[in-house]
Symmetry: C2
Subunit: 410 residues, 2 copies
């Protein structure tokens, strides 16, 4: 069997492929979907927002009303609890953590509290972990279950007042594609951390990024938090990076009245307003939540066959073998593959040597260390379906080859 796999692997290698499944990048067809947005604010159109503000000029720290409303509608929160950001929700998260470090959030500045910790449901999003590592915040791995992070262990850890928060992707999690169950969301809302300055960064990156006609449903965290009086604990962010353009979209942050006031206080020193012309483009192009939903169906039509190519390929290669497991997600941008323990790095190397770039193995865990060396994040969006089929076939060969090598090593 090893010899046969090696032969198939060498045959692939000889093809000199150059394939990339490393990042959750939209493909060109997806970007083309909303090019009308480039024409909608033009030299002859009106450039004022609905309240008569000149978008081309200074002013409007929190965003133009129609754009704030659109982002609020998507998140299901009140307009007054939303601030429209720049191109990246990553920046909103980074800046919020920086703010907590320097100024605190209801307690001493985090930087003055000695070693502080964050809980990290994992596998998770590498850029969340990078923010924490950058600020020197200690990361603690939390297991992801089929219905979200392991709440038992979170409830235990937060008894330590040095534990200051967590980042999560509650819908179609990165990379597992898991949507938090109602019970998990309610347990989040009901958390009673020892730290009074505990913050959950609710990165709702895939809030409208469904692939199926029967999409996952996520409870509204602020509705649940209100019932528990815990609104101050949650900071939600979204962006249009995978709705309009990754390189020219807008983002938004939602938070309690108190947190919004703190964020505004900081922002008023940092910026006069984000790009309001681009806000106007987005508000006029998508109009409302229905406009967004209709647009996302077009994305899904492009993405669904790619996700199918990946999961069908896995089923074909691995069903009945027991050497790999994965979920078939209803949305989001990734498929998370678990290979035989101790094999993921070897799989990554084999793939790389044959011209297939995967997300760096380990990147889905804090400090880049997957304790089981088992998880591989697959990003199906960027390559076309044919390339993807080739890439998956190669990947599956590598997974089997690494498993066989491991078994022979004993």
């Amino acid at each position: 069997m090893k010899t046969e796999l090696e032969a198939r692997y060498e045959a692939f290698k000889a093809k000199g492929l150059k394939l990339d499944m490393s990042r959750g990048k939209p493909n060109k067809a997806q970007l083309d979907l909303c090019d009308g947005i480039l024409d909608i604010v033009n030299s002859s159109s009106d450039k004022n927002s609905s309240d008569g503000m000149e978008t081309r000029n200074y002013g409007g720290l929190t965003g133009i009303p129609e754009c704030r409303r659109l982002m609020a509608e998507i998140m299901g929160v009140d307009e007054k609890n939303v601030i429209v950001g720049g191109v990246a929700s990553l920046t909103l998260m980074y800046d919020y953590i920086a703010q907590c470090m320097i100024f605190g959030c209801g307690g001493e500045p985090w930087i003055k509290q000695g070693e502080i910790k964050f809980l990290c449901p994992c596998p998770g999003y590498d850029r969340h972990f990078k923010i924490l590592e950058h600020f020197g915040i200690k990361m603690i791995n939390i297991k992801m279950n089929a219905d979200g992070p392991d709440m038992d262990s979170i409830e235990e850890y937060i008894k330590d007042e040095k534990v200051k928060g967590l980042f999560c992707v509650p819908k179609y999690s990165n990379p597992d594609g898991i949507t938090f169950s109602d019970e998990v969301v309610r347990r989040f809302a009901a958390l009673k951390p020892a730290a009074k300055d505990f913050r959950v960064i609710w990165d709702n990156a895939y809030i409208v990024h469904d692939l199926s006609d029967t999409p996952d449903e996520l409870l509204n965290i602020f509705d649940e938090a209100k019932k528990c009086g815990s609104e101050d604990m949650f900071i939600e962010v979204i962006s249009t990076s995978k709705i309009s353009y990754a390189g020219g979209g807008i983002s938004a942050i939602a938070a309690s009245d108190k947190n919004i006031a703190d964020i505004k206080d900081r922002m008023s020193v940092q910026i006069i307003s984000n790009d309001k012309v681009n806000q106007l483009r987005h508000a006029r192009y998508f109009k409302d939540f229905d406009g967004i939903k209709a647009h996302m169906k077009k994305h899904a039509a492009i993405l669904k066959p790619k996700f199918d190519a990946v999961t069908d390929g896995f089923a074909e290669a691995f069903d009945g073998t027991g050497i790999a497991s994965w979920r078939k997600p209803n949305g989001g941008y990734f498929v998370s593959l678990f290979v035989m323990k101790g094999c993921a790095k070897r799989v990554g190397q084999l793939c790389k040597d044959a011209g297939l770039t995967l997300t760096t193995v380990g990147a889905t865990y804090p400090y880049g260390i997957d304790p089981d060396d088992s998880n591989i994040r697959i990003a199906p969006s960027y390559p076309d379906v044919d390339e993807l089929r080739k890439a998956v076939e190669l990947l599956c060969i590598c997974v089997k080859l690494a498993a066989v090598e491991k078994l022979i090593e004993g």
Copy 2:
């Protein structure tokens, strides 16, 4: 005389005016100048940058090459020493100071060094002072001379290693419109601060914002710094807020190789790229430095009569009285008026009561305190010339009235 002034003041008040000379905002005619920028990247145009990068997608942390080049050309620095930012140079400055606070810049993080200080040439830009106040950095007033900040006192203060830097607007300073002389720039480059982590934020906000055909010339700070080996001491920022749009422009930061590396390290955690579609708009619309210069002449044609209305009005009202002084700037966005000591606040109040909003008196000094209560910043750009004439007439009456009141009080 007091009675006559009071009568004229009351007559103005009765008109129920609503005038605003408070902020350096471009007016609508200026914004209209570059509306072609809204059409240049459209649904049918190519959206790739000159190196073939898809601007609509992720990637390109430091900016697309043609935009980086344009910003580098404006500042007279190498492309590799420039990063293109978002809508606001204010954010580039804020984020850089935040970075120094948390991570330091060649020394311990500033936040861990106890009370640190910045030197503040004043009158100056209120938003610089706000950043320093926000981070709890102690501000020390430095006198502005006709050729720039008082370098003797700067050279003295920097012997204290707690003094970590300064913000300045080296060309057409805010609000005085002073351009630093060659000698001042050279003395900046030659500074030998006790603090190894001393930083000069060279906010070149008005770098191409000339009003005259014989504009002021500012030496290139990095050319001078190279001669002294002090490139690491300088962080330069510019933006197109007053070139294209204040609400939809782009910014850029220039720094030494070492500082650029540090900024990139932080930015790579904070953002994937700034808005590259907007970068493409700017690069394609303005093309090169000549394109920028030609465009700025159109701004000047709109602004020059407004500045003249202000300085002519002042000359008419105050020449020979000795109760006020001002400079006639060759560019920038402000006229700085010095009224009789102890009278500026009273002038602000009188104007406000008659419907004319000025920049908050005191805002041009650290902590909002003008020690002489004398400086008033006039922003002529936003109102039209007729309004401006009315506003200046009213302002001059208020200045005289306040002076007379003061003299009578004794």
